[in-house]
């Protein structure tokens, strides 16, 4: 039984040391080079940091080196926290306050910025020069247990403070093995990575690669604006597998990209994180009739994925592709308003999850964790935690789960998970802001912000929000109101506002 995710790296570095593990357009790391970098970084951290099981920020642009930095942290028995280099400083500060990181790993590009978040800043370029101390590394590794955290990933929080989801080796090992076995990722696969490393969607790319002795290529972000370059990348590197958000796949279908170039090796097409428009799916399916198409579903709090559906039939444009059934060693069930188990098809309930995939809660946020990681209401006999996703679903006639909507004000916008409350909090934090309320126009995929103030107009408001919010959280439509529709409770009248979209 594996107890540490680094065991995958040891195995692959032994089995195929010279094979390209992770590459981008600039650089390629073989498994052997990867292991050497990880050992050097691990040695440095053990020598310089006298702590265990503490967070280390990794603040670098996406590249194979970032993965080496992640695993260097893990080798030292600490855990990594990837931070988006495009994140506004104010939001990083909220995370740093919550996390109190033991150190930051960065490179020359971001050194000055990183110094603002910690006195303990390590330069990647210097760390990899550290002479490896095998004894020190193996002593430290021998102390690790599979309930140690591997990483913390931050997700949007409705109160305005992002939530850090803590995930253990055990959850990650369970996830990778179930996923690779079920979907069939092998050493012949080349995965083209789209998801940023600070999203759980990238876990499949990073960890299935090392588990299966496959290869992973990082697609430059810019290519997703230029469909031909994107397709040329897939062709050039013989990509077999993608795990992309539907928005990225839409980039190809909108421009009828396959008419110009149809990558020959593609055979596994996996999508999730938002609902797949059937039109986009049908376009891809028509061009790749023999490929395997898989819809996956799962929040960060259960390590990314808990259900899957291998698409096995045709869908008309107005149908929804099911999220399917649970992976092995995971139980997914629906509870109604009174916490009763739903088994009939058609009845809507909250998706609840139990199993080794459950995260260890939110970092330094016990109360928020206890709200959603709760005792299974169906079991009063022994301690058994479930995660309440807040997602509503139902069973279809084939007993497959079908996503319906959210219980609250969380939305999925272009694959990103956003709490509308986080946007509203950022708007209300601006001086002289009287009212603010966000609604989501799901027909047009737009975040609509209504606001009331004398201090800002649409342009200056958007500028101000860029300093506080992630780019994908910036409202797509802003509407200034002279009078805000209110409920008697003093809250904004969302129903009225929705009618004003």
């Amino acid at each position: 039984m594996k107890t540490n995710i680094l065991e995958y790296l040891f195995e692959s570095a032994k089995a195929c040391p010279d094979k390209a593990a992770y590459f981008d357009e600039q650089i390629s790391f073989s498994y052997d080079r990867m292991l050497k970098a990880v050992k050097a970084i691990g040695t440095k951290l053990i020598t310089k940091l006298n702590v265990k099981c503490r967070p280390v920020l990794v603040y670098m642009d996406k590249s194979p080196a970032v993965i080496a930095a992640f695993w260097g942290c893990v080798y030292s028995r600490n855990f990594y926290v990837p931070i988006d280099t495009g994140m506004p400083e104010m939001r990083i500060r909220l995370i740093v306050e919550n996390l109190k990181p033991a150190a930051v790993i960065t490179d020359m590009t971001y050194y000055d910025m990183a110094r603002k978040f910690s006195n303990n800043v390590f330069l990647y370029e210097e760390m990899t020069e550290t002479p490896v101390d095998e004894n020190l590394l193996s002593e430290r590794l021998a102390t690790s247990i599979d309930t140690d955290p591997v990483y913390v990933l931050y997700t949007s929080g409705s109160t305005g403070v992002p939530k850090g989801v803590v995930v253990s080796h055990r959850s990650l090992i369970d996830y990778v093995e179930q996923f690779c076995n079920e979907i069939g990722i092998t050493e012949d696969d080349v995965i083209a990575n789209q998801a940023p490393f600070y999203f759980d969607a990238s876990l499949i790319d990073i960890y299935c690669t090392v588990y299966a002795h496959a290869s992973m290529g990082i697609v430059p972000l810019d290519y997703f604006s230029v469909p031909l370059r994107l397709l040329e990348f897939l062709e050039k590197y013989n990509v077999t597998t993608i795990r992309w958000v539907p928005s990225a796949m839409k980039m190809v279908s909108v421009f009828n990209g396959f008419k110009s170039l149809k990558p020959k090796k593609l055979r596994k097409i996996i999508f999730g994180a938002e609902s797949m428009p059937v039109k986009v799916y049908n376009y891809w399916k028509a061009n790749y009739p023999d490929a395997v198409f898989v819809q996956i579903y799962g929040p960060t709090e259960i390590t990314g994925v808990c259900t899957y559906h291998i698409v096995d039939r045709d869908y008309s444009d107005d149908e929804t592709i099911p999220i399917g059934k649970a992976f092995r060693n995971t139980e997914v069930f629906l509870l109604d308003d009174e916490d009763r188990l739903i088994s009939r098809s058609g009845t809507v309930g909250e998706i609840c999850v139990k199993g080794s995939c459950l995260a260890m809660g939110y970092y330094n946020a016990r109360e928020r964790s206890d709200e959603v990681f709760v005792q299974n209401p169906l079991n009063s006999y022994y301690s058994e935690k479930i995660y309440r996703t807040g997602d509503l679903a139902k069973y279809n006639d084939r007993h497959e789960l079908v996503f319906v909507s959210r219980k609250d004000f969380q939305i999925k916008h272009m694959g990103h998970r956003i709490e509308l409350g986080e946007i509203e909090t950022a708007v209300m934090a601006l001086p002289d802001m009287k009212n603010a309320c966000c609604v989501y126009d799901s027909a047009k995929d737009k975040i609509v912000l209504f606001y009331e103030t004398d201090a800002y107009d649409d342009m200056s408001l958007t500028e101000a929000l860029k300093k506080r919010l992630q780019r994908y959280m910036i409202p797509n439509v802003t509407k200034k109101l002279d009078e805000f529709p209110m409920l008697k409770s003093g809250k904004a009248d969302r129903v009225k506002l929705k009618e004003m979209i």
Binding site: S225, L228, S247, V254, F255, G257, S260
Partner: protein, 75 residues
């Protein structure tokens, strides 16, 4: 041109489209913005924008987008 600027403003109201010439190169538009904008352009002007047209030079400024739309309208 006015209609094009209106479409662009709906996506990024904070940009000065009269002077900006790095909409793609400076990553002011991300890929999802581009999909939105292209969808609107295709509907509004009844043109087909294909993968060959989707190169940064055609989308770096409002002027370049207008030029692309003019060319495609003539086809």
């Amino acid at each position: 041109m006015d209609r094009i600027i209106e479409i662009l403003k709906a996506v990024h109201p904070e940009v000065d489209y009269e002077t900006e010439t790095g909409l793609i190169d400076k990553r002011i538009f991300d890929s999802f913005d581009v999909v939105t904008i292209v969808g609107e352009l295709m509907d509004e002007f009844d043109i087909e924008i294909t993968a060959e047209h989707m190169i940064p030079e055609n989308f770096n400024s409002a002027e370049a987008i207008a030029e692309l739309v003019r060319t495609l309208e003539e086809e």
